[in-house]
């Protein structure tokens, strides 16, 4: 049954990816004029690469098949702007940086968010609760592109605590990590608090207390364990948030990750690069979501994935 579920989910993933790839292809073709020849004068070499890659003289269906074949072979093609590099190379170069930043932010968000959420739920309507709710509200209302310049101004420029706009050593990762972690941190805090509050009123928690187990024991084994489940489900969307957030955070802090290239590609109207990165990130997110779903079914014994656990 599990195999069947995994298979159907895989099929759905492939379908989604196909939709993305096709839409991307159509968009490339739909861009007013020829994307490869208008606006900026492209260097001869780039133009040659592009023609070779897209076989622009062929009829559209042939181009489409060719394009899909390249995608299946994980070849994202050449870029406009960077004459000597393919999109694959750019992604390979930028991704480790983005991944480090993203992982750091996600880790901070999940660990601190869980802790704050748990403590807030245990201290309902007390100072700590109000504090964590304040963090949550601010994190959701202050976008990363507002938080980032504020951090730069105070931590970086005014008080000179942390380096601004470099990417060397751990200290330089602190501000971008905070800016990127704020939103997921707030989401996790809110979710964990409400989930904890709900679990605390469950009958089985009362049963555990009636057994005479000490409070810490009850909280760890019977409450937190169950309250974490809904948080696992949002790990997918949180990853999406961190990823899109990284576009602006990387540009603001001049971090040489995929996000910065992506924003530059938008400003330069470097269509192949935009499409390539979109495809790459979409696939990544779809896979992450799939893994999160599998993990959820594995953590919660009640969910039988085969029955389409949503």
């Amino acid at each position: 049954m599990l195999v069947k579920y995994v298979m159907s989910r895989l099929l759905q993933m492939v379908l989604t990816l196909w939709v993305i790839a096709t839409v991307t292809f159509i968009m490339m073709k739909a861009i007013p004029g020829d994307p490869f020849s208008n606006e900026k004068k492209l260097p001869e070499e780039v133009l040659r690469n592009l023609y070779a890659y897209y076989q622009l003289d062929d009829p559209l269906p042939v181009q489409y098949v060719h394009y899909m074949k390249n995608l299946v072979l994980l070849d994202l093609g050449p870029s406009f702007k960077y004459e000597t590099r393919t999109i694959n190379e750019i992604v390979a170069e930028g991704f480790p940086v983005s991944a480090q930043l993203g992982a750091q932010a996600l880790l901070v968000a999940v660990v601190a968010g869980l802790a704050l959420g748990v403590l807030a739920a245990l201290r309902q309507n007390r100072l700590l609760d109000y504090f964590s709710m304040l963090v949550a509200v601010l994190g959701i209302s202050v976008p990363s592109f507002v938080l980032a310049p504020i951090l730069q101004k105070y931590l970086g420029v005014e008080w000179e605590l942390l380096p601004v706009a470099t990417w060397e050593g751990f200290a330089s990762t602190v501000m971008p990590t905070i800016a990127l972690a704020a939103f997921p941190l707030a989401s996790v805090t809110r979710l964990m608090r409400s989930s904890m509050v709900e679990v605390l009123t469950q009958d089985y928690v009362r049963t555990a207390r009636a057994k005479g187990l000490p409070p810490l024991f009850v909280i760890v084994r019977h409450t937190i364990r169950n309250a974490i489940l809904p948080v696992v489900t949002v790990l997918g969307p949180l990853t999406v948030g961190v990823l899109t957030g990284s576009f602006v955070v990387e540009s603001i802090f001049s971090i040489p990750g995929i996000g910065k290239y992506f924003v530059e590609s938008i400003t330069n109207r470097d269509y192949p690069l935009i499409m390539g990165i979109t495809l790459f990130y979409s696939s990544l997110l779809i896979i992450v979501n799939f893994l999160v779903d599998l993990a959820y079914g594995w953590i919660d014994p009640r969910i039988q994935l085969a029955k389409g656990g949503k």
Binding site: Q202, N226, P301
Partner: protein, 335 residues
Amino acid sequence: MEKLLEVNGLEVSFQLDKGEVQAVRGVSFSLARGETLAIVGESGSGKSVTALAVMRLLQHPGRIKGGEICYDGIELTRMEEKGMFRIRGAEIAMIFQDPMTSLNPTMKVGEQIIEGLRWHRKMGTAEAKARAAEMLKRVGIAQAERRLEQYPHEFSGGMRQRVMIAMALALNPKVLIADEPTTALDVTVQAQILELMKMLQEETGTSIILITHDLGVVAETADRVCVMYGGQVVETGTVNECFRQARHPYTWGLLQSMPRLDQPRDRELQPIPGSPPDLYEPPQGCPFADRCPYAMHVCFEEAPPETRLSDTHQVKCWLEDPEAPPVEMDQPFAW
């Protein structure tokens, strides 16, 4: 008989935004070793709150406002929370109404039985597991070792309640509080569970406080009965006294709203009209006066005193006053 648990003048209230709800208002009862006491009443009468107060499991905003709870010579209301960890589960155990929600859904059944044994008896895993399996067998669950490794959702409602009982009795508690243990179960399963509880009580000598609204269950299992209404005990006595010589109109109402085999079949069941009192502002007189067909002016003005009819039988009702008009239960409720 030796008193194992004595509750005296217990008062519990819930402080809500709108005001204070006085859920339990001066409840007293006692429990002897090996005896089964039934606490009967409709929902909202304060019976479950009383039980939770005895376990000191009241959740905020509920708290014990007055009275004492004496277990085996220890005063529980003034005990530190730390001390309660030794009492709960080990001395006084509790099972709850809904077996579907009372077990942790993400934890194996075995683990849930074992954790109590490990904490209270400091048993090793293997020993605790053996004891858990033994308990499952005793409550009539076949293939106990395999069942220990399963999750609650793999058990039926009746089986889960058996697990709850096994879990509660694994530590040989002296008192078992069962809060509506059969209400959520099918009728056929109800009988099995009651049978099981009776059998285990004979084997272990545990005292039981059985909380229920079902007089059928009381007749089958209890030795003595407390009838609760509006946060107070209105009548208490042996099963015989409360069933055959009931004196409180509320007890009569309960009896008449229950189908019985020893009555002519065409006898109409008589529901008690109205609804229980609002405990935000408890009535100053008898809580039942509003719904009582025999209510007199005095019933609304002053709380009735307790009348001792025998060593075991007490009732709080103005009809016991020598000045009151005589009323007998057996005349059907006349409206």
